[in-house]
Structure formats: C-alpha cells, structure tokens
Subunit: 192 residues, 2 copies
C-alpha cells in the first residue's frame, strides 16, 4: 500500500509538498526570496497556508528546501550532460553547459550567489545548503582538471571556479555573452 490516505480533485496529481516547492522555485528564483511572500507562493501553488506550515514549519525552511531540491537537480543535470564526455574533456564541456544555462529563457543568475546575497544571516538554513553545493562544485572541478592531465591542476581548478562564478554573475548583469567569454578563457587555460 502507498504511504497514507488523501486525495485531491484539482491541480493534477502531484502532492502539495511538491506543488509548493514548484511554486517556490518559480517565484523565489525569478524575483528573490525576500521579495516574494508566503501568500504569493500559496496562490501560485494553489495550496493552503496550513499545508505549507505542516510540511516546512516556517518560510526559512521552505527556502532551504527549495534550494536543496534545486541543487540536487542541478547535480543530476550536470552529470547527465557530461556522461558521454570523456573525463579529460569534461572541464571544458562543463562550460558548454554554463553557456546553455545562461542562454536559457528563464536564466536569472546563480541561486547560490543569490542565497548568500539575500540571506545575510550566517545561521540561515539555506546557507548550509549553498555551501554544500559549493563544495560539490570545487570537488568536481578538481576531478575534471586532474583527469585533463593539466599541470598545476589544483590552481587551474580554482581558476575554473572563478570563471564559473564570473560567467553566471556576469551573465546575470550583462547577458549570456559573459558565459561565452568564460568558456573562451577556460579553453585557453586548459589548452596551455
């Protein structure tokens, strides 16, 4: 038997929790977590207030959960994107992914950067999620540069992190060309 009872008529058949996270994702990413109130999320999710507080306890936790799901999805997406690329080529190929992301219609910068910018309280639960994802990125970059066999792999990996951050921050302000600029430079760096 499935988990428990329940059933709903409206809004297709995903649970409230997922509907809330979907709505939070759309609104928080597009407009910022501080600019969007609980009521907006509820309306967008077509959910009741009690459901939100039942599942998440408070808004901060909803934000953290939204960010966590976003990071988990991003990892999976990146890994799938790179799956067919030989390890030695992945560092550069990753920047193709960044370019595609920056060119996508709804691109509005990096959720991790937004989190650190908007939620200045160091104890905010979303910050821990953000830092965890940062670690994943730095680990991957090191892995990819090692596989590429470049010399000074650690320094190159750190430089690629800077290029990645600059690509998304720059693309948020100036448009997707910044991501291409980053790719151009990454190629140069990995070649020599």
């Amino acid at each position: 038997m499935p988990k428990k009872g329940r059933r709903r008529a409206k809004s297709s058949d995903i649970g409230v929790r997922d509907r809330l996270l979907d709505a939070a994702d759309r609104l928080f990413y597009r407009e910022g977590v501080r600019a969007v109130g609980i009521d907006r999320v509820l309306a967008e999710a077509d959910a009741a207030k009690a459901s939100l507080y039942q599942h998440f306890g408070c808004k901060d936790q909803l934000v953290a959960s939204y960010l966590e799901r976003k990071t988990v999805d991003a990892r999976a997406q990146i890994e799938a994107y790179l799956a067919d690329t030989p390890p030695s080529q992945r560092a550069l190929k990753f920047f193709d992914w960044v370019v595609e992301w920056a060119e996508s219609k709804d691109f509005r910068g990096c959720p991790l950067q937004h989190t650190v910018t908007e939620l200045t309280d160091a104890a905010h639960p979303a910050r821990a999620i953000a830092y965890g994802q940062r670690e994943w990125f730095t680990d991957r970059f090191l892995e990819w540069t090692m596989a590429a066999g470049v010399k000074d792999a650690k320094a190159v990996a750190r430089a690629l992190v800077v290029l990645f951050d600059g690509a998304v921050a720059g693309a948020e302000m100036d448009g997707p060309q910044r991501a291409k600029d980053a790719r151009w430079m990454a190629k140069k760096l990995l070649a020599g």
Copy 2:
C-alpha cells in the same frame, strides 16, 4: 557664507543628507537593501524621517543615491590606486586592488551584483546606476588591455571582466582566496 542656516548638537558636523547616506551605506551593503528598513537607517543616522523624505523622496531613491555615491567613490579609489602604475601594467595591478578589497574586513561582495539580485524590477532607479558602473568597468578593462599591447585585446578585456566578477562573487561565498585565484589567472592571461 555657507549654504543655509541650521545647526545641530550631536553627531559631529556633517549634514543630514550625508549622515543618511553613510548609514544607508553601512546597513544596505552589510545586510542588503531589502533586509534593512527605513527605521533602521534613521536610527543609525540619528536623523528624522522627514529629513529622509525631504532629501530623497522615497526609499528606492535613497537606495539609488547610496549606490551612486558608492560607485563614484569606487572609481576615484581605483583611479588613485592605479595612478602610479604605467598604463601597460594597470590591468594586472587592478587585480591587486581586488585582492585587497576582498581581504578587507567589511567586504561582502559587489554592490552591483547585489543590486541586480535584490532589485529584480527592471525599472528600479538603482539599476540604471548599476549598469552605468558596469559600462565604466568594461571600458576601463578594454583601455587597460589595449595599453598592455596584448593581442586579441577585446577578447582579453571581456575575459578580465569575467575574472573580476568571479573574484568578487567567489570571495563573497568562499573567502578572499578566490580573488587571488583570479589574479593568478589574469597574470597568466596577460602574459601569453
């Protein structure tokens, strides 16, 4: 004779307008413009509400004025920092300035990035200020790379913008090492 009458006992002798901007600078930069309310600024500036609305009209305009003063100050500071450096060396020297900035006690990222992240309304007056300062940066980078005599100067200039954005965004999340990583890479790029 000076401007007009007035006089105050407390808080030294700068005008209310400047006190308000100073307070706004401290609070907005440290905690974010959406996280800090008018009342916090007034308390920090030891000023009256009417003074704020007399000088700035609304909060959005205070934010824009705060950002404008910050960008004007930054330009002056950077130009002074580079004044003794021959033009051909300025591109790299600029990243020394970035490292010092990222290592400074109160560093909390780039106000321009914060503005674009926090104020998602494209019509917000602070956005125009931010875009103006972005142009100044891109113009300077092109000027410096041309003076450095590197080939492909335009592409290099764009890459340096990415490195700059990555330096400050990365330093905000991970610490000042990111700025050093950016400098390391800028040196490499400008050498070859």
